[in-house]
């Protein structure tokens, strides 16, 4: 039986062992969040001192004194709306293909997953070259088919779809998660469909989709949370020392907008206000995720922790 001195020693050790994250939470989480909220109400530049503005930063965004804010909201919304459904559909399709009885499954899975572990900055450069309008291989193939290829990253209308296309190539993560979910569907459910004379489509619609629906829901929500924070693609592919998210702000994704406000224009207050807005949206999505996953998720073995 533990004596009280042993208990005391354990409690002291408990605090000491947890100390890093307690300090880390104060220094890198709570403190900065609080400061961001406060800075959002100020005009503040690097090296200067903050001046209280009230809600002026927010008002400025919505009264279109700054058109690039709306441009970035539009670009980010388009990016998310296109990217998330495309990625979820493709990764789910890939997982379905991989979840069949095939040889060399590991090899196929590795090939489809490989793009994910490449640094995003590096794969962005590769895609710039593939989709280069004049000498890129993609437009060469399109020309060979007798058509004229678009300007891809160089055109306001195609820049976001091009990035979305690249995201489809980067869906290995959710593919692996879907694959795990598919493998968790009990076999006897499919056998039941077969006994009733159902075909593969019936199995997909009546068994697979309902059984993995929590994972699909999860993939959609986390997909949006990730898409809203996309930064590297436009920072590498459509920005240079003087511009960000070109052409003409059409790929100025929101976090790039925040970055530009803060570190190019030195408007730390305005950037903080923009960060607060996006944070509210992401917090809402996260809340939705936890709120609805509780009622949507079904685990055969009971509750999961």
């Amino acid at each position: 039986m533990p004596t009280s001195s042993v208990q005391r020693r354990e409690a002291t050790a408990g605090w000491i062992f947890a100390a890093p994250v307690i300090l880390g939470w104060i220094i890198f989480v709570a403190g900065p969040v609080l400061v961001t909220l406060l800075l959002a109400l100020t005009d503040y530049s690097v090296g200067g001192s903050p001046r209280y503005l009230g809600l002026e930063n927010f008002r400025k965004f919505f009264t279109s004194a700054d058109e690039s804010f709306f441009a970035s909201v539009r670009a980010t919304a388009l990016y998310g709306m296109l990217s998330v459904p495309a990625c979820v559909a493709v990764s789910f399709g890939l997982a379905l293909l991989l979840n069949t009885k095939i040889r060399l499954r590991g090899l196929f899975r590795a090939a489809l997953f490989l793009p994910v572990i490449i640094p995003l900055a590096a794969s962005s450069v590769i895609w710039m070259w593939l989709f280069q309008p004049d000498f890129g291989v993609v437009n060469f193939v399109i020309r060979a088919l007798g058509m004229r290829g678009p300007q891809w990253l160089a055109s306001e209308t195609t820049v976001i779809p091009t990035m979305v296309l690249m995201n489809v190539w980067l869906t290995g993560n959710s593919m692996v998660i879907f694959l795990a979910a598919l493998q968790g569907v009990p076999r006897h459910l499919y056998e039941a469909v077969e006994i009733d004379g159902g075909n593969s489509l019936h199995k997909l619609v009546y068994i697979t989709l309902p059984m993995v629906s929590p994972t699909i829901f999860f993939a959609i929500i986390t997909g949006f949370i990730t898409a809203l924070q996309a930064f590297v693609q436009p920072a590498i592919m459509t920005s240079d020392a003087y511009h960000a998210g070109g052409p003409n702000n059409s790929s100025l994704l929101y976090v790039l907008f925040i970055y530009r406000e803060a570190f190019r224009f030195s408007k730390l207050g305005s950037a903080s206000a923009a960060a607060v807005l996006l944070f509210a949206v992401i917090a809402g999505l996260t809340w939705m995720f936890f709120r609805f996953s509780r009622s949507l998720v079904y685990y055969e073995g009971g509750e999961r922790t």
């Binding site: 939470w25 489809l112 006897h188 077969e194 079904y298």
Partner: protein, 302 residues
């Protein structure tokens, strides 16, 4: 219990007892169905791998071949000149070592402090423990962009910007709540008898942690270490904010600088990109199994 469940449950109940009898027909049907799967899979795998092939191919030709109106699928005169130029024009060795240093110290900090905290939250009994844990958990989903401006101001005030400290330090303070969460789950699965026996023999918490819990947690530590390494190695935003002088650039910043300086010289750019991609590919090939497990475990990381 909940609304979604009856629909999910329904198909399985009446038929379960019979399922054993249909094993064989199902298997043969599956075997046939698999054939239809190969063509799309082979095609998709080829499409997914093509960018890598094109990168390597481009890095092996000279500038003239880049601007041919009809690109060749195979390089006409493959050579390593682009690599020599690309890797000597910019201090890539330096950038590589910088990236490596940051990543290794980040992994070390994460493995040590995240497992310490996970140990405290799963094994040690102290007042407030669960309350502290749930408070700390709020940092789990916190996006970097929310805290980057105050962090920048903080490091700048401490005169520590343009150094590696801002990139490494957070890892030494718990190493990301998500990692603590993962390790805690793993530690909870280790039988308590082990450390209770050790405690009976007079071992203190530190000994239990280092001599019992850590050695038994190698798989979880490998997963956390790998994902942390890749996240640090691939990171672009944080170095972009905190690092300004060229000799402290990480590989990703170096690549961006290269991109600015060598616009349209794609053979050099692709050679540089090859060099940057290679370590990640090697890690992938060596540790694929752990990575896949890690992805499934940490799906949230997206």
């Amino acid at each position: 219990m909940t609304m979604g469940q009856p629909a999910l449950r329904r198909p399985d109940e009446p038929v379960t007892p019979v399922s054993v009898n249909v094993r064989n027909p199902r298997r043969s049907r599956r075997g046939r169905a698999a054939w239809f799967v190969y063509p799309p899979l082979v095609l998709l795998a080829a499409v997914f791998l093509f960018p890598f092939y094109w990168m390597v191919k481009t890095s092996l030709v000279d500038l003239g071949s880049i601007f041919e109106p009809t690109p060749r699928l195979l390089p006409a005169h493959p050579n390593l000149d682009s690599f020599v130029t690309a890797l000597t024009m910019f201090p890539f060795g330096r950038f590589f070592l910088n990236s490596l240093l940051v990543a290794v110290l980040t992994v070390a900090g994460t493995l040590l402090t995240a497992s310490m905290c996970a140990f405290s939250f799963s094994r040690l009994r102290w007042r407030w423990r669960n309350r502290v844990f749930s408070v700390v958990l709020t940092g789990m989903m916190l996006p970097f962009f929310v805290v980057m401006i105050p962090q920048f101001i903080m490091w700048r005030t401490l005169h520590l910007t343009d150094g590696f400290t801002p990139l490494i330090a957070p890892a030494w303070f718990g190493g990301g709540v998500f990692n603590i969460f993962l390790l805690r789950q793993f530690f909870l699965g280790i039988p308590r008898d082990l450390d209770e026996a050790a405690t009976m023999d007079g071992a203190g918490p530190a000994r239990v942690f280092f001599q019992i819990i850590l050695p038994l947690s190698k798989p979880a530590l490998i997963v956390v270490g790998l994902l942390t390494f890749l996240a640090s190695w691939n990171d672009y935003l944080a170095p972009l904010i905190f690092i300004t002088s060229e000799e402290k650039y990480t590989l990703m910043l170096g690549l961006n600088m290269f991109l600015g300086g060598y616009t349209a010289q794609w053979n050099y750019l692709m050679a540089a990109t090859c060099a940057i991609v290679l370590p990640s590919v090697i890690i992938f090939l060596v540790a694929q199994k752990y990575l896949m497990e890690g992805i499934v475990m940490t799906g949230l990381k997206g």
